[in-house]
Symmetry: C2
Subunit: 210 residues, 2 copies
C-alpha cells in the first residue's frame, strides 16, 4: 500500500516498529495523530524523548526510576532481606498492586531463552548475585533473619530454566530460595484445569487450615 | 497501577491517548521504547512532529499531501470528471491498490453521525459541492463527458445517511451519482450471506454476461 507522502511512510514505519503494531494499525494511529493540534502532537512526541532521557534502571534491583535509586530500594520500611525476582516491571507492578508484599524486588528484564537469543548475560543476574555477596548478612548472623529470594517467574520452559539457573547461583551463597505457588486459580474448576497445573497443585498440597 | 516514575506516567498516558491502545498495551510499548537507544527514540518521536508539520489535506479532494496539491489531483492522466467519494484515506488506498480506477477522489474525513456529534459541517462536503459549481463543465457541454460521482461509502446507517445527504446536494447540480455495488462477496456462499446483502444482490441483479 503506497502512502501519499514520504513523511507518512516514515511515521507509519516508526509506529509499526513497536511490538504488536502492524502496518494497518500504524496507519490508523498516524491518521489519528494528523487530526490533532500541532502542539498536542509535539507533547506526544516529547513524552517519549523525556522518558528515554530521564528514566533508568535502579542500580540495585533494575526497577525503573528517575532518581539514583528506585523508590522501593530507597524505602527503609521495605525488608531488604526478602527479594522477589520477577521477569518484568509489569510483574513487579502486579505484585505491588496487591499491597501485600513488604520486601524488595529484582527485575531480570527477561528470562533465559536460547531460541530468542537471550542468555544469562543479557539479564540482570550478576547484579542479583551481587546483592548476596555478604555471607554474614545472608545468614542473618548480624542479628537479622536469614535472607529469602522468592522466584515469581513465568511457568514457561524459559521461566523454569531461568529459575534453575538462578538457584544454582544463589544456593551456594546460603540464600533461602522459594517460588510462588502453582495451582488451581481461585474460582477455577478442577475439571477445567490443565494436567500440569492439577498435578502440581496435588503434589504441593498443604496442611488444611481454616 | 502506580508507575515508578512520573515521566513513565506521562509517556503511558500519551501512548494510551491513541485510539484502541489501552493502558496495559501503552505500558508494554513504553517499556519497549525504554530498551531502545536514545537516538532511535528521538527519530521515533521526531517522525510524528515532522508528519504533523509537513502533511496537509489536498485543498481539492482532502487526500493527504506534502505539496500544494495531492499527487492524484496533480496527475493530468487522472480523469477529473469521475470523482470517487470515500470516508477515509484508507478507503482511497484500498481502491488505489486495485490499480483499476483512473478517476479522482474526494475524502470526506468521516461520515455523518449525530450519535458521535459528527455533522455535515465537520466533513469535506462543501469542498465536494464546490468541485461541481461549473454547470457547463458538469454537463459536459464543453465537449467532454458528463461528470460522475461514485459513492464508495460504508454500508452502515451513517454511511447511508451521508450518501443521501450528498445526493441531495449533488443531484441539483446535474451530477450523475452512482454507488459501488453491494452483494455477495466473491468466493462467499449464498447460504452464509446476511439477509440484507442477499436481498440487495437479488434486487440489483444484472444481465448475465460471459
Amino acid at each position: 500500500m503506497e502512502l501519499p507522502s514520504r513523511l507518512m511512510e516514515v511515521a507509519v514505519d516508526q509506529m509499526a516498529s513497536l511490538p504488536g503494531i502492524g502496518r494497518k494499525t500504524a496507519l490508523r494511529l498516524v491518521l489519528h495523530l494528523l487530526k490533532r493540534e500541532e502542539d498536542r502532537v509535539a507533547s506526544f512526541a516529547q513524552s517519549f524523548i523525556d522518558l528515554r532521557a530521564g528514566v533508568r534502571p535502579c542500580p540495585t534491583c533494575a526497577n525503573l526510576t528517575e532518581a539514583e535509586q528506585c523508590s522501593i530500594c530507597a524505602d527503609p520500611n521495605r525488608d531488604a532481606r526478602t527479594v522477589c525476582v520477577v521477569e518484568d516491571l509489569r510483574d513487579l507492578l502486579a505484585i505491588e498492586q496487591l499491597g501485600l508484599f513488604k520486601g524488595r524486588y529484582h527485575v531480570l528484564g527477561g528470562v533465559i531463552s536460547p531460541m530468542d537469543g537471550v542468555g544469562p548475560a543479557d539479564l540482570a543476574i550478576e547484579s542479583l548475585v551481587a546483592r548476596f555477596a555478604d555471607a554474614a548478612w545472608v545468614a542473618g548472623t548480624d542479628d537479622g533473619l536469614p535472607v529469602e529470594v522468592i522466584f515469581a517467574l513465568p511457568t514457561t520452559m524459559e521461566g523454569e530454566t531461568t529459575a534453575f539457573y538462578l538457584y544454582k547461583k544463589l544456593a551456594p551463597l546460603g540464600v533461602r530460595v522459594t517460588a510462588i505457588a502453582r495451582g488451581i486459580a481461585v474460582g477455577d474448576d478442577l475439571q477445567h484445569a490443565d494436567e500440569a497445573t492439577l498435578a502440581q497443585s496435588l503434589n504441593q498440597r498443604l496442611p488444611y487450615s481454616t
